[in-house]
């Protein structure tokens, strides 16, 4: 079985978000980058499937050379090799075109990624890749088991779960609790240094959206404190001041 895991290189979840160049560029100074948390779940499940069912796991990232430490971390976690499409991930459509192009050349049995990236939160890439390849796509997937040529999954729906079955190959956007995040061990880190990381050029695409500028939300005012012995005041404020009750 050949598994492709697509990962994003994103600011740590605790990062303070700010912009530079007249609000047209993300300010990456002092920002720690990580594998997208949802992608990390997908990767962990792929490595488990490699151990239980036998598989090769290829990691794919669309990004500039800055993302290589993040890719090496994925190799240290247990992926066998990696591909970096050498381009800035402009938008979901651009990334989907790159993934679909690589996938067409390599015939993967399973294409996994996170349900969404935590920077742009579009949650669109898995669906776009599925459509571009003519394969089923599912998201958000909470459990994934493979027997023979069939996968059984639980997909989260609002307020519950839906259990589904589908034949390989397909594309899935993953989320917890599909697997526990894996922390690379020393041996993984050492072997990751010599695992293949192939850099390929991006294919041309026609982009239909153009980024104009970023904005930060307005500053929050002070928190109004209420005496714990006078909670009636809170109900009164919610009713008559905030008008939400």
């Amino acid at each position: 079985m050949k598994i492709l895991v697509c990962i994003t290189h994103v600011p740590d979840t605790t990062s303070k978000i700010s912009f530079t160049d007249n609000n047209t560029k993300f300010d990456s100074s002092g920002v720690q980058y990580i594998i997208g948390p949802y992608d990390d779940y997908a990767l962990a499940r792929a490595v488990e499937l490699k151990e239980s069912n036998g598989a090769t796991v290829t990691v794919l990232n669309v990004g500039t050379s800055e993302t290589e430490p993040t890719i090496r971390k994925a190799l240290a976690i247990g992926a066998d090799d990696a591909i970096r499409v050498d381009a800035f991930p402009e938008n979901g459509h651009f990334v989907a075109e790159q993934i679909a192009h690589i996938a067409k050349e390599n015939n993967y049995d399973l294409i996994l990624m996170g349900r969404e990236s935590i920077d742009y939160n579009g949650g669109a890439v898995h669906g776009m890749v599925g459509e571009m390849l003519g394969l089923p796509s599912l998201s958000p997937v909470m459990t994934l088991d493979i027997e023979g040529n069939t996968a059984k999954m639980a997909r989260e729906i609002e307020g519950g779960k839906e259990y589904v079955e589908v034949d390989l190959p397909f594309v899935a956007g993953c989320q917890e609790p599909i697997a526990e995040w894996k922390i690379p061990n020393m041996r993984g880190i050492m072997t990751a240094r010599t695992k293949p990381l192939n850099v390929v050029e991006a294919v041309d695409t026609t982009e239909k959206t153009e980024l104009k500028n970023y904005e930060l939300p307005p500053e929050k005012g002070d928190c109004k404190m209420i005496d714990p012995d006078n909670v009636e005041e809170l109900v009164d404020l919610l009713k008559n001041e905030a008008k939400v009750l």
Partner: protein, 319 residues
């Protein structure tokens, strides 16, 4: 007049509130609004989308379309786009909406913007504002010429009601086996609860509640307020509450009018899932809890003393 389609998502035969908001958004864009609805839905419910601004509802009532069949919905919507000549398709942001919108965008070659929080600015192009970095920032994106798909974030424009009624047309899309490649074998749903992503009020509990046995008061407060219940990540990780209640950066992102956090310290990952709420209330015994920096109203106190008093106060105010 331009033609606009809306994917009107329903559960158990009822349109979701967010779908009504998507119809309202489409009506604000100005044009002929046609909603597309799937599965078993009664005539009066279909017509009621007119109240939110739909002139027409295309109803694909086939039983096979009762559940969230992502590929089939995308194929059907592509055919509806063709049939109506629609230039814009509006979705409400949801896990199903995202999945269908993405496939549809690739299928019809449309520009896609998700998590949209404003009507477009058409003074120079077609610029919409999207929420990004899990509500920590926004980006303005120009959707260039051609077909456009907009997935609207909850509370972007609100639900409009004008008392209208939509005409309903039966719609029989041409769907094949590949559209049903994914077999849905079973569905599990929490019964009778207010759905968390849809709720107007959310009451959430954290580790400060000490154990799952103490959730009765959270549920009682929620029930008095007509609210949904949520929880922090540690609470769902420890299995105190089901996973679908986990609110935060890697869980459900909510945007209610009122969010009440009980015994939740307010880690940045939790706040990312709630900061689109209109009003935040924090109840925590630690005056240094970071939630108080994000909250509009706060009470420093022991949840086990404050919450029962709050339940009484809400009851008194409801009477």
């Amino acid at each position: 007049m331009s033609s606009i389609l809306v994917f009107a998502e329903s559960t158990d035969g009822k349109f979701k509130k967010t779908s009504r908001e998507a119809v309202s958004y489409a009506a604000e864009l100005g044009g002929d609004v046609t909603a597309v609805a799937f599965g078993d839905i009664e005539q009066s419910e279909l017509e009621s989308l007119g109240n939110n601004g739909a002139g027409k509802v295309l109803h694909a009532g086939d039983d096979k379309l009762n559940q969230g069949v992502i590929q089939a919905y995308a194929s059907a919507l592509a055919q509806a786009v063709e049939q109506t000549g629609a230039e814009i398709v509006v979705f409400s942001k949801s896990s199903l909406g995202d999945a269908v919108a993405a496939r549809l965008a690739a299928k019809i070659g449309a520009a896609l913007a998700s998590n949209v929080v404003s009507l477009p600015d058409t003074s120079n192009g077609f610029v919409v504002k999207r929420s990004i970095y899990t509500n920590k920032a926004f980006v303005n994106v120009d959707m260039k010429e051609g077909k456009k798909i907009i997935a609207v974030k909850k509370n972007a424009v609100g639900i409009k009601e004008d008392g209208g009624s939509a005409t309903v047309e039966s719609f029989s899309p041409d769907l094949g086996d590949t559209d049903f490649a994914v077999k849905i074998t079973k569905t599990e749903k929490a019964e009778g609860d207010v759905l968390l992503p849809e709720a107007d009020i959310v009451v959430s509990g954290g580790r400060g509640l000490k154990g799952p046995e103490n959730w009765d008061m959270v549920e009682e407060l929620a029930s008095e307020l007509g609210a949904a219940t949520g929880c922090s990540k540690p609470v769902s990780d420890m299995g105190w509450r089901p996973h679908h209640e986990h609110v935060g950066q890697t869980g459900v992102k909510v945007a209610p009018s009122l969010y009440i956090a009980i015994g939740i310290s307010g880690a940045i990952q939790h706040l990312a899932g709630v900061n689109a709420s209109k009003v935040l209330v924090a109840i925590n015994k630690d005056p240094e809890a970071p939630f108080f920096k994000a909250a509009d109203y706060g009470i420093v106190g022991d949840a086990f003393e404050v919450v029962p008093k709050l339940i009484d106060a809400v009851k008194a105010s409801n009477d």
